[in-house]
């Protein structure tokens, strides 16, 4: 009895510490964005703010490129998601169901591509985008983001498509469907949970990307939110109120998506390699 109570106390203490550590930066982000500069740069860091201003939020919307960049992020992430779902569904269907020479190579190159780090790819991709005339464009980033979303989406869908009963597809083929209509009418509707995972991760991985955006798009008006943040510090002088307002708003879309689709998250985390 005594032992289990001690265990409960330890459990609660550890949990409280972890939660504080995980959540406090978010709280601090929000609180900083509504404090006056006098309080922000004053000698006392008030955990509960003593002043209130909308100045930083107003400046964020009127004096920075944030609104444009937020829109850029939405366009880039949305387009990348739709494209990688289309490319991924077709590719996954081919790998999971069709027999053709090179199928195994295609499957393997998916994993290899997924694991090739952006640190190796960003320089040659920069050159490639430069020669395609796609630097400082949203299209260039969309194409670059496909390099990590397509392997991810396709691999995850291959695994899921294999669990769809092949008999249903054969029946559809006998009824006069071709491979494409079978995929669209039979396989995809039955794979809805996997499509949710794929869409969730494509969108958030694209939303969160930083390196390619920083390197390929130097022009502030073509940058997404992540790379745009760097402009809020000029020569080591930070506008922290404005910066934290941008941070809070830039975090919102992925937080909403991950929270809404929480039960789908685990499946996507390791490409389905860890079975729950």
């Amino acid at each position: 009895m005594r032992r289990s109570r001690r265990k409960t106390v330890i459990t609660i203490l550890v949990m409280a510490g972890l939660l504080l550590w995980a959540v406090f930066p978010f709280y601090w982000m929000l609180v900083t964005s509504i404090k006056t500069n006098d309080e922000i740069y004053g000698p006392v860091a008030a955990i509960i703010p003593t002043t209130f201003t909308t100045q930083h939020w107003r400046e964020l919307f009127t004096r920075t490129a944030f609104v444009v960049q937020f829109r850029n992020s939405l366009i880039i992430s949305g387009s990348t998601t739709l494209l990688s779902m289309a490319i991924g569904s077709l590719g996954a269907y081919a790998v999971a169901r069709l027999q053709f020479a090179g199928r195994t190579i295609a499957a393997r190159s998916l994993i290899y591509s997924y694991l090739v780090p952006p640190a190796v790819l960003f320089i040659p991709l920069f050159q490639l985008m430069s020669s395609l005339g796609l630097l400082n464009s949203l299209q260039g980033l969309i194409i670059s983001y496909l390099t990590f979303t397509v392997p991810f989406c396709t691999w995850l869908l291959v695994g899921y498509f294999k669990t769809v009963p092949v008999e249903l597809e054969e029946a559809a083929l006998v009824d006069g469907c071709n491979r494409l209509t079978t995929l669209v009418r039979i396989t995809l509707p039955l794979s809805a949970p996997a499509l949710v995972v794929v869409a969730l991760f494509s969108f958030t991985l694209s939303w969160n990307e930083f390196l390619y955006a920083l390197v390929f798009n130097q022009d502030a008006n073509t940058r997404p939110v992540t790379a745009g943040l760097t402009a809020m510090a000029v020569e080591d002088v930070f506008f922290w109120g404005r910066m934290m307002a941008a941070a809070a708003l830039g975090s919102l879309p992925p937080i909403i998506l991950y929270t809404a689709a929480q039960r789908y998250v685990v499946r996507g985390l390791t490409l389905g390699a860890v079975k729950g």
Partner: protein
């Protein structure tokens, strides 16, 4: 949607070439070769055009002296030799090792602790899980800027709170004090990356059959023995995959260093992906920038090899 207008019969079967020839083609290229190639074409364009081709062109680039705005000529392994000979490089390799393995080790311990504690109960479990997951869900660069503000020398909440509570009597330079820099950086990497471990470990814990624990209890095993005899051994496959993936991602990610210290002070936090960025973009030496991560690629390739084998096992 490149597939939208493909004709139906063309997708289903090979173009009509006459019975025997069609069979020959099918034997050579596979029963569904036409559909297979058409369906996987967009995917192959991405994989080969935008991953494989850039990868190999990076290798070529690293053996030239290309800079932004100049044509490069072939110089063999000169860039690699230059890197190996520099004293900075030893420092960077050491930094990268400390940064990567330090981060991964702490994430592993904190992640396992959090998962076990969460698994124990304490309602509402989903709420706690959601809150603990927050740091992973937001852009890394946003988390990094938030921490840079928390770590701020004079106005940062960490220093000021420690002074106000009387725990210390002077400002602490979390990022500028060379003795603290790497630790402060690793703390942010751990903050950002641990949720990934927690979620996967929770899934692993949920898959352990309850009977194992009941049997151990009959034998009189305590909580600690149960953890080392049952929990840990059952979790080995999950731990391996999570650790390997995380090692690749952590070691190649320069965002947190870029935001917090830019490699400083005096290079104590310079890790190799940042060095590559510095050479290629800030110094415009594309070839040197390409050579840096490739120096470390053999190490990466070993991990990728093992991961790929594990991930393909299920096929």
């Amino acid at each position: 949607m490149p597939m939208a207008d493909s004709s139906s019969s063309g997708v289903l079967t090979a173009v009509d070439l006459g019975g025997s020839r069609r069979q020959g083609v099918a034997r050579l290229l596979g029963r569904d070769w036409a559909g297979g190639f058409l369906f996987s074409l967009p995917m192959l364009i991405v994989l080969f055009g935008f991953v494989a081709y850039p990868f190999f062109s990076a290798i070529w680039l690293s053996m030239t002296n290309k800079m932004i705005g100049t044509e490069g000529v072939f110089v063999g392994l000169a860039n690699y030799q230059k890197l190996l000979a520099s004293t900075d490089f030893r420092q960077i390799a050491l930094n990268s090792g400390v940064y990567t393995f330090g981060s991964v080790a702490v994430k592993l311990v904190v992640g396992m602790t959090a998962a076990v504690v969460l698994h124990e109960g304490l309602r509402p479990r989903n709420l706690w899980r959601m809150l603990l997951f927050l740091p992973w869900s937001i852009p890394v660069v946003i988390g990094a800027y938030t921490w840079r503000w928390i770590y701020d020398d004079l106005s940062g909440v960490l220093s000021q709170t420690l002074i106000q509570t009387g725990l210390v009597d002077h400002y602490i330079y979390w990022l500028a004090n060379k003795a603290l820099t790497m630790g402060s950086i690793i703390a942010v990497v751990v903050w950002q990356g641990t949720p990934f471990y927690i979620m996967n470990f929770l899934a692993g814990l949920a898959a352990i059959p309850q009977e194992l624990y009941e049997a151990a209890e009959v034998d009189g095993a305590g909580a600690i023995r149960k953890f080392f005899d049952i929990t840990l051994p059952s979790m080995v496959p999950v731990i391996i995959i999570v650790t390997l993936l995380s090692t690749i991602w952590t070691s190649n990610n320069m965002q947190i260093v870029f935001v917090l210290t830019h490699g400083g002070p005096q290079g104590v936090s310079e890790i190799y992906p940042f060095t590559s960025f510095k050479y290629a973009i800030e110094l415009k030496q594309l070839a040197m920038g390409a050579a840096v991560p490739l120096m470390f690629f053999p190490f990466m390739a070993v991990i990728i090899y093992f991961l790929t084998r594990r991930m393909l096992q299920e096929d």
